[in-house]
Symmetry: C2
Subunit: 316 residues, 2 copies
């Protein structure tokens, strides 16, 4: 569930656009006004504001925001104003251009969106960059990561609840054999993780646990520093328990010496209207402190104000 | 262009459905009536007839046709009545279930449809089989074919006309090096063929010809009996000159000792409303005899009548 708070009476998009224009004009920028509007509008309302702004002033509001804002605040507002599908396309593009083994944006897009959403992202990528995601991934990711990311991003997983239990059992064994033999990038491991439906994979991971007495993710931790293993763990978590995955990703980003703002911004901007309420609850359970307190402690200024406004003040 | 001839005044779908019902009833089946209706209705009209039949008689007309017709005639009518997207999903499913290296249906679907059409086929596959195409391909195709078919079928190629000429040159060289070294299933060969846009690939194949003095397809013929090479040739032809590919496929199927009806049926049922006119023209140019004559010589009965009715009598 979303943590967004939208006022009962939202002004017409044209009025919001005009107010935002005012916030950009004159000496300095009125960041407070920007936050009071944008942090309290739904994706659909933000899209309308962007359209109204472009109609009224002949400029993309993203361009205007880019001129007025800076650093982390600019980044979170930019991601926030982008339509969710376009935002994923932009995130994918920017990740792939400076791809590194620790990248998580591509995995999150491939595993924590529905099959239909990923198609929309691939369409938006065409429209924005005149290329396909897979072309860029193939050109930039290397070795085993390429072998893993290409099918991951091009999959169109079946989304239904049907599960084949005997298949789950046999593929659990297959995974266990390969992982036991440290063949982490084996074709069959990749095939199972990248083609099976989420329901089927959940059954497979359960079969794995029942048969071998520990979770697949535990077996994928044999070398905590191996980046391919870490990516495989991210994939299995993103597929079977995405809220836990996102809670942990925010937690690690905040706890890191000198907070990793990129990850905080990305996860919050992409999850606020999806499952941020559950992520906050999980965060509180795991850390004994509300996420919003941790955010306040680790961030400053308009960036802090914006994050707090979209994840909400309430304690859990 | 289509070779389909649809009468100026088409009766309402409900009337067609009723006539078809009559053709099924009583002693024997009135095949002539079936042909006179179905072979002269567009995909959209056939969809409406199927719907009207189901509404009126509570049965899928495909089921009724399955009971009344047999062999090649049954097969062509079945493919013909299926909605094009559903037809591709059915063809893909049936190909993958009895997959063999010489299979061409999957390659045709992956390479001779637009990116959006392939998405629709993948959607239809989910709806029909509660699984994804890639799951079934991964489970059935083997070795190098699997490595090739998986990215081929999951690609969402960019469809625009933009071309990067220096990339075309460098990838032509890459292809030439790998093919020269007989590394036909090399990762880079597969990457180029399965991710680049059709316009980009055309530029790459032209660069190949200009740089090395012969076409890529000639270099892929070093061992005419190698089935992987043959599949690679089918892919490059399907991408850059699909009408030539289909003309040759029909030609070889007809010329084969004892005509290969499966291929004739598939190609005709899938191309009549797309580019059959050009395929017929090419056929005449290549063989000096109209396709319809060749069909009449090599097929018989209702099957012959149906094929002739949908590809049209005219001489070229």
């Amino acid at each position: 569930m979303s943590t967004l708070s939208v006022p009962e009476c939202v002004p017409p998009a044209s009025e919001d656009a005009e107010q935002l224009r005012k916030a950009f004009e004159g000496w300095g920028t009125n960041e407070g006004l920007i936050i009071s509007i944008l942090a309290h509008r739904s994706a659909d309302q933000r899209r309308q504001i962007r359209q109204a702004y472009s109609n009224a002033f002949g400029e993309d509001i993203l361009k205007a925001l880019g001129k007025e804002l800076t650093n982390d605040f600019e980044e979170v507002v930019r991601l926030w104003v982008l339509d969710p599908v376009e935002r994923d396309a932009v995130l994918a593009f920017e990740s792939v251009k400076r791809w590194r083994p620790g990248d998580r944006a591509l995995i999150e897009i491939a595993c924590a969106r529905s099959s239909e959403e990923i198609l929309e992202v691939r369409r938006a990528y065409h429209a924005l960059y005149k290329r396909s995601i897979e072309e860029d991934v193939a050109a930039n990711a290397k070795g085993d990561f390429r072998k893993l990311l290409l099918p991951l991003l091009t999959a169109y997983r079946y989304g239904g609840p049907e599960v084949n239990l005997s298949l789950a059992k046999s593929e659990a064994k297959q995974l266990h054999d390969k992982i036991g033999g440290k063949a982490y990038a084996d074709e069959e491991v990749i095939r199972v993780l990248t083609t099976r439906s989420k329901a089927q994979l959940e059954a497979t991971f359960n079969a794995y646990y029942n048969e071998f007495g520990h979770s697949i993710n535990k077996d994928l931790k044999s070398d905590p520093k191996d980046e391919l293993l870490s990516a495989l763990r991210a994939i299995t978590k993103c597929i079977t328990c995405q809220e836990k995955y996102f809670e942990k990703t925010i937690r690690l980003a905040i706890n890191k010496m000198g907070t990793e703002e990129g990850a905080v911004t990305r996860v919050i901007a992409t999850r606020v209207e999806v499952d941020m309420k559950s992520i906050k609850e999980l965060y509180f359970k795991k850390n004994g402190v509300p996420l919003v307190h941790a955010i306040k402690k680790d961030t400053i200024g308009d960036y802090e104000d914006f994050l707090v406004a979209i994840i909400g003040e309430e304690s859990a």
